[in-house]
């Protein structure tokens, strides 16, 4: 907002420091504080809790948060609207449908070491992306409002299909899908972390590498092309990367909403528009943010029934809903103004 120099170069290291602190502290707190000694002392009573539950959970939360925030950033830049995210455009629902189907069918195969739910979630995400992309191709200058509505339609369509899959499941299966749909970070051991890692890392790598293209595309496709960006090709690559990330996350955690909208927006307010800084900021802040939400959700259990778990998706939705409305009402400074840019 102000006429200051970009803060990116100064703020990203700060975010990195914050992230390190969050990652170190998070496993030891909530719902019960564990002593640091438990980490190295194998005979300590809490050693297994820390290694099998707390640490993997923190890792999953960080990876998921980073991937969702970065995907959100890509969509916001490509569609030039802060409300356009994989969640709002139905990509998460597509991934969910893929994962739900593979759960229902009890698929257990792996391809190149990648488990069936991840693959089918990736396919679902890809399908949804194709739908959204197809819609934007159908008409040049597809109005953003119409795009968002189309996203809602795509999302509802996939959600109904998920309900149908649930309907076909027995009670336990149906309950499993339902719990998973709420967005959960409940994992045991490092296997899920390792399953998600390649998706998130490769996706992040591609996106962070394309920061210059994202800068130019956020000025508009025409300018980007005139500066030498192969926009059509870059879009395909970015859609692929986002599908990878969203698919990888959704297969394990379910559709965790709103992270991809809030985090990139806040990051832009913090570090400016330059994607060279916004990208890393989204990874760091998105990851820390979801770890923080998870700590919050675990603390809330402690005061209630110790066995009940508040899915982290509910926390992010409770934060994200009002944020979405705030953006929609346009009460944001400079960068995030929701405008219909269809007039170009």
């Amino acid at each position: 907002m102000s006429a200051a120099r970009p803060n990116g170069a100064r703020l990203v290291p700060l975010l990195l420091a914050l992230t390190v602190v969050v990652l170190i502290v998070a496993p030891f707190v909530a719902p019960r504080v564990l002593p640091p000694a438990a980490l190295l002392d194998a005979s300590h009573a809490d050693h297994r809790i820390l290694l099998q539950i707390r640490l993997p959970r923190t890792c999953i939360a960080f990876l998921a948060g980073a991937a969702l925030a970065l995907s959100g950033m890509v969509f916001q830049a490509m569609f030039r609207n802060p409300l356009a995210t994989p969640f709002t455009l139905g990509v998460s629902s597509g991934a969910s449908l893929g994962a739900a189907i593979s759960m229902r069918l009890g698929l257990t195969f792996t391809v190149l070491g990648i488990a069936a739910p991840s693959l089918s979630a990736f396919s679902g995400a890809g399908l949804a992306v194709l739908l959204v992309y197809g819609l934007t191709l159908m008409k040049r200058g597809f109005p953003t409002a119409a795009l968002l509505l189309a996203g809602v339609a795509v999302s509802l369509f996939f959600t109904s299909l998920i309900l149908f899959v649930q309907y076909l499941s027995d009670f336990t299966g149906s309950f499993r899908v339902l719990r998973w749909l709420m967005g959960s970070l409940d994992v045991i051991g490092f296997r899920p972390v390792l399953g998600m890692l390649p998706f998130v890392v490769s996706g992040c790598f591609i996106v962070l590498l394309m920061n210059r293209e994202l800068d130019l595309m956020s000025l508009g496709d025409d300018i980007a092309i005139s500066r030498g960006v192969e926009v059509a090709r870059v879009k395909k690559v970015l859609f692929f990367a986002t599908s990878l990330m969203v698919g990888g996350v959704v297969a394990v955690c379910g559709p965790i909403g709103f992270v991809g909208m809030m985090v990139p927006h806040i990051c832009r307010l913090l570090v400016g528009s330059n994607h060279r800084y916004v990208g890393p900021a989204c990874v760091l802040f998105g990851g820390s943010f979801l770890v923080g939400c998870d700590v919050l959700s675990r603390s809330l259990i402690a005061s209630a029934d110790a066995r009940a778990q508040i899915p982290v998706g509910i926390i992010t939705a409770l934060l994200g809903g009002p944020f979405f409305l705030w953006l929609l009402l346009g009460n944001t400074p400079g960068p995030g103004r929701v405008q219909d840019r269809s007039e170009e």
Binding site: D222, I225, S226, R227, G228, E230
Partner: protein, 292 residues
């Protein structure tokens, strides 16, 4: 006419080449010397034919304007040259090489673009925006080097935007933003600059300023300019050649002062003009009838 042949910029390696091009271009239809060469370009969007067999040649170093009423296809023409719009019939060559033989980033090293003002403003700083003009000169893994910074600095200097370098775009006025966009295009260091309504949404002060900047870029930096405009008066004053489009077809092509006839203007705009003597001499000032 602002002649493009005055060899007043020593030290620029291109001068010799540009001069040669100019000489060649002066013998009319000397295609090898042309910066942009369009032959029989037709373009349709859906069923509607936007451009109908356009022939257009811009010699290197020239300032050429494309005029015509709204919806004549002027912007479409620019977008075809930039390959923002692909397909269509006919042939476009840039410096003698077919457009289709260029990679997009290669084309961007030859042709820069200042789009119509307006649209989204992401709060990039002016520096960031201008640095983005260096994109076609950078490979994915290369860092921004000293020559990139030099190009950015020079572009800011040429447009008088140095003091705005660290301001964000959302804090600038429309005129300042337009100058920033021109600086970004200049940082591309292309030999051809395409302009879409460069002066239209500016206040008189900024109109004069941007007009002067564009003239300077053309005459001193020897950048070939192809400008789409509604402003007939500035088009006549700045251009060596003018092309006029109406409903996608060329209705005039020739020297700039050739349009200063009411039958020509009526063919272009469907309206007649009054001719007023310009206070500083030269070509008269045009005022459309009904605007007296």
């Amino acid at each position: 006419m602002g002649n493009s042949c005055s060899p007043q910029t020593p030290g620029i390696a291109l001068t010799g080449l540009t001069l040669l091009c100019d000489v060649l271009a002066m013998t009319r239809n000397a295609r090898p010397g042309s910066a942009i060469d369009i032959e029989g370009l037709s373009f349709r969007i859906g069923r509607q034919e936007i451009l109908k067999g356009i022939d257009l040649t811009v010699a290197a170093g020239e300032y050429v304007s494309v005029i015509g009423p709204n919806g004549a296809g002027k912007t479409t023409l620019l977008k075809c040259v930039l390959r923002i719009l692909r397909g269509g019939e006919g042939r476009i060559r840039v410096f003698g090489r077919p457009l289709t033989a260029y990679h997009q980033h290669e084309l961007a090293r030859e042709v820069a673009y200042v789009p119509q003002a307006g649209g989204t403003v992401f709060p990039f700083t002016v520096h960031d925006l201008v640095l983005m003009g260096r994109y076609p000169h950078l490979s994915p893994f290369s860092l921004v080097g000293p020559e990139d910074h030099a190009a950015v600095h020079r572009a800011l200097q040429l447009t008088g935007m140095e003091s705005f370098e660290h301001r964000t775009l959302d804090t600038l006025s429309g005129g300042e933003r337009q100058k920033a966009m021109i600086a970004a295009a200049l940082a591309q260091q292309a030999r051809i600059l395409l302009l879409d309504e460069p002066l239209t949404f500016l206040d008189p002060h900024h109109q004069a300023e941007v007009f002067a900047i564009l003239r300077r870029i053309n005459t001193e930096s020897r950048v070939t300019v192809l400008s789409v405009t509604h402003d007939v008066n500035t088009a006549v004053r700045s251009s060596t050649m003018i092309y006029a489009l109406r409903e996608g077809a060329a209705v005039y092509s020739g020297p700039a002062d050739g349009i200063l006839k009411n039958d020509v203007l009526e063919r272009i705009y469907g309206t007649r003009f009054h001719f007023l003597d310009h206070p500083f001499g030269g070509n008269p000032v045009l005022i459309p009838e009904g605007m007296e």
